[in-house]
Symmetry: C2
Subunit: 192 residues, 2 copies
DNA sequence: CACTGCATGTAATTTGTTACATGATTCA
DNA sequence: TGAATCATGTAACAAATTACATGCAGTG
C-alpha cells in the first residue's frame, strides 16, 4: 500500500485540522502548507477518491455538486501510521545554485541578478510567513495544533533569513569578481 | 526543445568543468553537486546519448567499453543558453515539516526525534561542505570557477547552520509542550 | 577464480504536471 | 446576463525512480 503515501499524508492531515472541500484543500496546500509542501491540482481529487474507497475519508454531499470531506476514525489511525513512517527526503533541485555553480559560463552580472532575485523571493517569503504566523496565533480553534504549526513557520523564517544573509554575502563577492573581471572599466580608479 | 532542459544543463555543466565518463559524472553529481542538485542514475546515460545526437557532447571511446565525454563548442553555447533561462523553482516537499505540521497527531516525543534527526543531518552536511570547500580551495585547476563553486558551498553552509539554530529552538519548544502534556509525570516536581 | 568496483545501458513502473471539460453560484 | 470564482473531475503527457542486464579490470 506504499503508493502515493506522501500525498495521502498531506490530504489526510489537512482534513484532520478541519473538514473541507477539495477546492479548499488545494487553496490550503497552496497557501499554508505551500511553504514546504506542494501537491499538484491533478493529484488531490484522485487521492480523495482513493481515500474514500478505503473509507479513510467521508464525503458529505451538500446541496449542489460540492462535497465536504472529513476524516473517519480509520482515517485518523491511518494518518498516525503514515506520520510515524520515516520522512523520505526530497531530492534537492535548486536551479539558482545550479546556475551559480557554473557561474563562470554565465558571467558575474547575470549571477548577481539571480542572487538578487533569490534575495527578493526570500524577503517576500518572510513577509508571507509573518502573515501566516499572525493568522495562526489569532485562530483559537487550532488549540494545541497551533504550537506545532508555528514550529514549521519558524523553520521557514529561519531559512528565509539565512537565504537573505547568504545573498548579501554573495552579492559582495560577485561585485568583487565583476571588478576583477574588468579592472579598467572607467576612466579613473577609486571607489567612486 | 524544452524537454529535459534541467538535466541537460547539469550534464553539460559538469562536463564543461572537465571531461569524464558517465560513471564519474554520476559520482560528481552525487558528491559535489549533490548538496543542491540530484539526477537519478537512469537519466544520465539517456541524456548523454541525446546530447551526443545533437552534437553537443563528443564521446571518445578509450580501449574497452568506457568512453570519455567532452563538451563541444556547440555544447558550450547551448550550456550558456540554458543557464541564461530563468531557473524553474522546485516545488518544495519537506517530509519533516509536513510531519511536524500535523505534530499533534504524532505527539511531542516523536516530533523531538524528527527534529533531532534533522539537526544531525544538518551537522553532517556542514562537515561535508567543509570538506568540499577545502577540496575546491586546494584545486588550482579550477581557476576562476572556484569562486562560483564556493558561492554555492556557502549557500549550503548558511542553510545548514540555520537548520541547526532552528532545531535547537524547536527542541526547546517541544520540551515545553511535552512537559505541559503530562504535568504530573514523576513522583515529585522540580528540575531534579 | 571469486569479489569488488568501474562502466554502460534498458525497461517497467510510478509520479507528477498540464491542459482540458464541465457546471454551479455569486455579484456587479 | 456576463464575468469571476468555486467546485469536481479526466486524459494526455512528461519526468523520475528502480530494478534489471551486461561486461571488463584489477586484486587478493
Amino acid at each position: 500500500v506504499a503508493r502515493s503515501d506522501q500525498t495521502q499524508t498531506a490530504v489526510l492531515g489537512a482534513l484532520s485540522i478541519r473538514p473541507m472541500t477539495g477546492y479548499a484543500l488545494r487553496e490550503q496546500i497552496l497557501s499554508t502548507l505551500g511553504h514546504f509542501w506542494s501537491e499538484s491540482f491533478g493529484q488531490i481529487y484522485p487521492a480523495l477518491a482513493q481515500l474514500e474507497r478505503q473509507d479513510l475519508v467521508e464525503r458529505k454531499v451538500s446541496g449542489s455538486g460540492s462535497s465536504n470531506f472529513a476524516v473517519t476514525p480509520a482515517g485518523l489511525a491511518r494518518l498516525r501510521e503514515l506520520l510515524a513512517e520515516p520522512p523520505q527526503v526530497a531530492k534537492p533541485r535548486n536551479g539558482v545554485l545550479l546556475r551559480l555553480f557554473f557561474g563562470r559560463q554565465l558571467g558575474p552580472e547575470r549571477c548577481r541578478e539571480l542572487v538578487r532575485e533569490r534575495r527578493e523571493a526570500a524577503v517576500r517569503s518572510l513577509a508571507e510567513l509573518g502573515r501566516a504566523r499572525a493568522e495562526v496565533e489569532a485562530d483559537p480553534s487550532l488549540g494545541e495544533q497551533a504550537d506545532y504549526i508555528l514550529l514549521t513557520v519558524s523553520a521557514g523564517e529561519h531559512s528565509a533569513r539565512s537565504a537573505i544573509a547568504w545573498a548579501d554575502e554573495a552579492l559582495a563577492t560577485l561585485d568583487q569578481l565583476a571588478a576583477d573581471h574588468r579592472p579598467a572599466d572607467g576612466t579613473r580608479g577609486g571607489t567612486r
